[in-house]
Amino acid sequence: MTTTSAGAARAVRGGAGKPLLSIRDFKVEYRTGAGAVVQAVRGVDLDLYPGESLALVGESGCGKTTFGLGLLRLLPRLGHASGKVIFNRGDGTEIDVLGLDGRDLRKFRWRDAAMVFQGAMNAFNPVLKIRGHMHDTMRAHTKATKQEIEERAAELLRLVRLEPERVMDSYPHELSGGMRQRVLIAMSLLLEPEVLILDEPTTALDILTQRSVVDVLHEVRERLGFSMIFISHDLSLAAELADRVATMYAGRIIETGGVRDLFYRPRHPYTLGLIKAVPPIVGDLPDLESIPGGPPSLAALPAGCSFHPRCKFATEECQEAEPPLIPITDEPGDGHEVACIHSGDVHLDRSAS
């Protein structure tokens, strides 16, 4: 029932070679007035490989958007990023992203890495036609001629399955939500970035529209081969779009691994809990479980493992120190890492769920 005319199933790709983005001890703080500070991202280590699609999943408020904004140096004024972010440009140059400023920073932002913001499909300039948006973006960053811009925009719009003749002359409000989201994806690709960060690109879209955006993303990535960081609270979308998944909780990555490792063999109680809470659509009535309680406040994190008040595997030891993210060695597979001292006890039984 679930197979369609699309043909063969899409494969999971593996990362290889030197990372495109290498992120170490990455932190983001927000000043919240009266000298108070909250740490929204608390020391993330992560590599993104060429051509790879990495999904960042986790519940509301865990720091996903903050992480994306911080990487591209787009934080609001009261936000501050620290740590090390190295971008390895295709030509062999190494860029220290947190040290960039001025022209170099602008160049990095669109030509090396671009971001489609959460909710941005409602943030177009309402009095500017799509043509105007395309020209503004290209002119701000290149010396392309009008003709070149027209051609490039049309090419990308076709790639996201829109008709350039119709869309270029439309105002944003004349397009449906799904069309606007696809225009944004096309715009973000105008300058051929090597990394595209998409923040909740299908949230608030209807299911058939969401499906078309997902299919378009598969296609353009196949054609253009960029790397992607895909931010979503929707685990099913991560299962669909990611080669690798990183689960975030309270500002940290608590598990990361290949998409099949993470979904079939999760080893962190939080990832396991999330997977067990998502109802599948095929099959009989599933046995679902919720995770008790809610995410902690960043201003008052529990001592030790910040998940311990909600964790059914927790012991007293869990309150002593925050477990580091370390590789799992008792299983085959590459790059599966988990931050839990009892990960050996955590197993997903798919037949029972």
Binding site: M1, T2, T3, T4, S5, A6, A9, R10, A11, V12, E59, S60, S176, G178, D206, I207, L208, T209, Q210, R211, S212, V214, D215, H233, D234, L235, S236, L237, A239, E240, A242, V259, R260, F263, Y264, G273, L274, I275, A277, V278, P279, P280, I281, V282, G283, D284, L285, P286, L288, E289, S290, I291, P292, G294, P295
Partner: protein, 342 residues
């Protein structure tokens, strides 16, 4: 009324919508947000109403709750047209049928504590006498929605609670007047995955223990499946019910091309399985405007099984295709329901 849309149970339906329509005047002209819908809910039963944004779910729910009067058709509660009731009986009806809003933040008064929110309707309608009895009852209701111990929550304001806790308070408030039917409009859509299932489990317990019926509205078929498995599901498209039946049938053996497209499109939390899905069978992604509906079957410009002449002529009626299951599709009516391919 289409025979197939009436549940076969012997119990008298708690609520019936018979051929109800709602027409709105808009700048683009009049639109039929709901067009001749037939639905019924039995006591203690779950009826899920699913469909994409703008399909008319909220409009139908508001008519069922007596919040708006239909432009045509009848809304019956306990066998009587609610718009023929006198003032006193209408207010009894309004107490028996409670509407829980999608966004509890918007529906809870921010200047009232949870205790005030819960005791006000109790005292106003004389359900209990005196502040002490009202406070006790409020505590009892919080326990029912798993906000324990209640003393921790009674003195709080909505902004001091999490989204899941606020939604539980909204449900507790709906329970103050002992409703027979709860209309839950996207009640769990704004909640995080880890919390959503526990709120649904709590609602399920109310259904089982208190015998409350549910009109459960969601755009998420996986949630409808989970909550409404033992009940029925109606699928709406552009104001019309296009498929209706027992929930397991709608999910695992849909017959209408629109329902099938929806089910095929939903990603699964399983990497191997979900990568076999696609919207490949749809001819168009554009949702037509209600102000300018396609002729005949409104799904025809998008439908992969469209047959010119057949589909763009008459509007298809909802007719029985299998035991308890009905669909509004000319091709399914002619060829019968194909068995699902698995």
């Amino acid at each position: 009324m289409s025979a197939a849309a009436v549940p076969e149970a012997v119990a008298r339906p708690l609520m019936t919508l018979s051929g109800v329509s709602q027409v709105f005047d808009t700048k683009a002209g009049p639109i039929r947000a709901v067009d001749h819908a037939n639905l019924s809910v039995n006591p203690g039963e779950v009826l899920c109403l699913v469909g994409e944004s703008g399909s008319g779910k909220t409009t139908a729910a508001r008519m069922a709750a007596g919040l708006t009067r239909p432009s045509g058709g009848e809304v019956k509660y306990d066998g009587t047209d609610i718009w023929s009731l006198n003032k006193k009986d209408f207010s009894t009806f309004r107490r028996s049928v409670q509407y829980v809003h999608q966004d509890p933040y918007a529906s809870l008064n921010p200047t009232r504590t949870i205790q005030q929110t819960l005791t006000a309707p109790l005292l106003k309608h004389g359900v209990v006498k005196g502040a002490k009895a009202a406070a006790d009852r409020a505590a009892e209701l919080l326990t029912k929605v798993d906000l324990t111990p209640p003393e921790n929550y009674l003195p709080k304001y909505p902004h001091q609670l999490s989204g899941g806790q606020r939604q539980r308070v909204a449900v507790a408030r709906a329970l103050t007047l002992d409703p027979k039917l709860i209309i839950a409009d996207e009640s769990t859509s704004m909640l995080d995955v880890s919390i959503r299932i526990s709120v649904l489990a709590m609602l399920g317990r109310l259904r089982d223990e208190l015998g409350v019926g549910f009109l459960f509205i969601t755009h998420d078929l996986a949630i409808a499946k989970y909550f409404g498995w033992r009940g029925k599901t109606a699928v709406m498209y552009l104001g019309r019910i296009v498929e209706f039946g027992p929930t397991p049938k709608i999910i695992n053996a849909p017959t209408h091309p629109y329902t099938r497209a929806l089910i095929e499109a939903i990603p699964e939390p399983d990497p191997d399985l979900t990568r076999t899905k696609s919207a490949g069978s749809l001819r168009s992604l554009e949702i037509p405007s209600l102000a300018n509906l396609p002729s005949g079957c409104a799904f025809h410009p998008r439908c992969g099984r469209f047959e010119p002449g057949l589909c763009d002529g008459e509007v298809p009626e909802l007719v029985g295709v299998r035991a308890g299951q009905s669909a509004a599709c000319h091709v399914v009516a002619r060829d019968g329901a194909e068995e699902p391919e698995r």
